[in-house]
Symmetry: C2
Subunit: 218 residues, 2 copies
Amino acid sequence: MKPGDLTEAVTAVLAAVEAAEGRLAPKKRAVIEAALLCFAESGYAATSTKAISQRAGVAEATIFRHFGTKADLLLRLVRPVAARLIQPGLVEAQEIFAETEGNLEAKIARMMTARLAFADRYAPLVRILLQELPVNPELHGLLQDSVIGGLIRFLDIALGEEIAQGRLRPIPAPRFLRILASMLIGYWIARSMVAPGEWDDEAEIALMAGLLARGLKP
Amino acid sequence: MKPGDLTEAVTAVLAAVEAAEGRLAPKKRAVIEAALLCFAESGYAATSTKAISQRAGVAEATIFRHFGTKADLLLRLVRPVAARLIQPGLVEAQEIFAETEGNLEAKIARMMTARLAFADRYAPLVRILLQELPVNPELHGLLQDSVIGGLIRFLDIALGEEIAQGRLRPIPAPRFLRILASMLIGYWIARSMVAPGEWDDEAEIALMAGLLARGLKP
DNA sequence: CCGAATTGTGAGTAAGCACTCACTATCATG
DNA sequence: CATGATAGTGAGTGCTTACTCACAATTCGG
């Protein structure tokens, strides 16, 4: 999955929504696709239901038949992907920490690569999340509780082991997660929103992971 | 200036706008104040001119007398502060690099402290920028050209010296700036939007600066 | 203290908004 | 092929939106 590949990203979101809603009627599918792109491009508030219906080639009423309200449409796009962000993401992180050979830097790099791939796979939705999170408390709660809470609980244990074995200076899991996430999101924004073009993911991740690992050596 | 202090932040923005527009009529001042807070809380698109006028205690027509359109109102809030972000910010960075004793970590920490103070001083406006940047190409250009361009040109020279003297492994200025900015913005968001409360700025900045400096030692 | 500029407003207006409803088309199943 | 359910829609609904305008109040240099 390349960073700029919207088609596959839309397909991935559609699959996630379908898993949550059951088989999708064709026009319902079209609405989801159109809404996803409109919201990502212009933001939720600046997108009208008329604009979505036109882009989907559907009557405006069809949106409300399937989703009731505009706010519900947003939530039913975001929730299934958020759900996929939690469970499999956590399992993946745990596997990486268990499998990868002792080297902390390699573990961090593999986690970053995996999360970057996730962000690419659901690119338009990540864009929507970044835009709406500061003003939509409902989304705020959705992520805070499940995603971040779960990750921190896991990291607390994983980092604790590293610290106990003297491979890492003592650092609270939330702080570690915040710095790792900041760098990764900052990179994702730079690569896919600010200056799309030639980026060497492997080199950039190596730099960031190296920075973290070397900077946190005891 | 404490992180949560809105009153002083509003005053600072008002001063910046006044410097650009000349002496402000009292109701014009009230509109700026109200718009600033409304945009920061709910986003530009979700804020109606009626809501602004009510918060300002002003007739809706007064907004259009002074600012013409809603879009212009936003730009005339953002531009003066963006202007203050460029010139003085650059001079400040140069001074810090020139004054502070050889230690790269201390230089980075001082730069971070200064930029954090700036973000606090103009907190509501920073919030608006973070929300609107992805969907407003006009703001995008405003920052990209002047702020980032200028900073990178300066950093290129400053880092070049460090590298030449063997105190820093070779790293392109944009990459350095991106990582530094990501961590700092990530911290600012965590501290003033996600989980406001007790934060030890000095310790957090020391951690981030140490990470960068140690991670980038040759 | 006068006249002109500036500041401020109540009462609009047309277009756009999210959303409803009565109705038709499609389709799986007994 | 009849029937009930699901999918889809054109034509609205009332309300909100950004914005206008004629006119009133205030300010201020000459």
